[in-house]
Symmetry: C2
Subunit: 330 residues, 2 copies
Amino acid sequence: MSDTKFDVVGIGNAIVDVLAHAEDAFLEEHGLAKGAMTIIDAETAEKIYGLMGSGVEVSGGSAANTIAGIASLGGAGAFIGKVCKDQLGDVFTHDIRAVGVSFETKADENGVPTARCLICVTPDAERTMQTFLGACVDLGPEDVDDQVVGASKVLYLEGYLWDPPRAKEAFIKAAKIAAEAGRQVALSLSDPFCVDRHREEFLDLVNNHVNILFANEDEIKSLYQVDDFDAALQYVRGHCDIAALTRSSQGSVVVAGEEVHVIDAEKIDKVVDTTGAGDSYAAGFLYGLTQGRELATCGHIGGILAAEIISHYGARAENDLKAVLAEKLK
Amino acid sequence: MSDTKFDVVGIGNAIVDVLAHAEDAFLEEHGLAKGAMTIIDAETAEKIYGLMGSGVEVSGGSAANTIAGIASLGGAGAFIGKVCKDQLGDVFTHDIRAVGVSFETKADENGVPTARCLICVTPDAERTMQTFLGACVDLGPEDVDDQVVGASKVLYLEGYLWDPPRAKEAFIKAAKIAAEAGRQVALSLSDPFCVDRHREEFLDLVNNHVNILFANEDEIKSLYQVDDFDAALQYVRGHCDIAALTRSSQGSVVVAGEEVHVIDAEKIDKVVDTTGAGDSYAAGFLYGLTQGRELATCGHIGGILAAEIISHYGARAENDLKAVLAEKLK
């Protein structure tokens, strides 16, 4: 295996989040599926944005959040994703580079704007997401840099990538490069509805291409179409090297063949906004893994990062993650 | 006096804030004047943004923040300011309308982008602002709607308006309309360096056109070029009907001829970010005033709103201001 330059390279939708507080009645009135991520077109995005309250714009995107988290911890991260050459594209590019991530994917100049995710945060801290994919639909295999993927210990993919039409071709190319270079491939299932949309493909991926799987309880149950967490756990056990399954306030379960760890959630004072919880868990876990930590420690680091992110508004860290980790992991 | 449609109409720079955490060493290294607002050109904006950490975008602008605060409290507010027809212009327009403010100024389509203010928030919660005025420089008297200004109880202006070249013409037109309709004119001095830049004009305004003056301690001392708060207080006393002078943790002093109120600051657990403190004080004060409250109560409401805004990151309210006020004012 040749030398690596990056710990993790992520491929995902490059998205700017628009966060606003909303009441449950607002979601019901406008038929928004609470807790889920729904793909919407430009017209619907404009309509929903017009109905939403005053917002805050923050760089987001599931895999991008994860890579940003890894870089904030001191890991070497790279990201592949498509923005447009517009103001929100500049914001996305600035923010991910500002935490030290290598991000060199060519921006679109065809006028299709940078993707945005309209996020309604209800008083229970749950987030409901409506995504306008914008420039993300232009991501294709030509955007996958062989050098970068070949030089990364882990290739990390978000399940949401199966929504835009050509991104899966980018994934196939990247997975091939990673396999040839002897790297590991990690996948996050992203969202139970996303699993519904792409179940057969995800099952094939998990069985044949993925070494490390991230899923929350709803997603893994959706993948195997079972009602019981333990049943899903038994299914996934033999199908990929490592599965890290998150369970909100019940912590996480990490399974790797015979090895199983049940890790308690970190205690926090108040959950403010769950946006980015899963992304941050994956960041902490992969940072630990690429630093050669034991699986239980990787799960613990994931839990620490998830707790940090849900204690404030927005999906990326406000605090010094290195300091948070040093404090919590001692 | 004819009927009014609005409690307060504000004229100001329409700005989107870009907030990022920074250390004091960062300000020193790049020669940024701590605590001040500095006007920068597009090239400098790009350079400083490139150096700043990952940020958050939130609608801002001093007078715009004040009018948004008044509307959030249930007051009827209107705003006049210039954005470009671009993504950040859409964000600004969406956010101010979302809280119920009437905002109908025609957006530029000439490609000069919407203004942004690069705000470095240091660990002591102080904010240091670098403003690229962008489309704001195109605000002129043609943007002042006679109907709106004539139908507002108070015309509110930010001192920062003296920085772009033609905005003062807009002010002169608006002040004339307000005077003819028998309305009150309020001014915020904005920033001690802004006072330095425009002292003679501000003195003339305060002496001859302004009924209600907002200033913090540094600004009022700068206006009269004195080192002592009480000396400044005595100067301003006879020059406008009402002066509301804010003193950070020392609360505020409201003076109106013989009437003087010294109002303690609200107690808060932790100051997170002082961005928007003065704007929020003015919002609370003017809301009280246009609701016919006594001056001491107006100052108290101002203090409550300022305390609310400095308890979180960003210059506009995250919480339900009506509920905050109902809780604190009982």
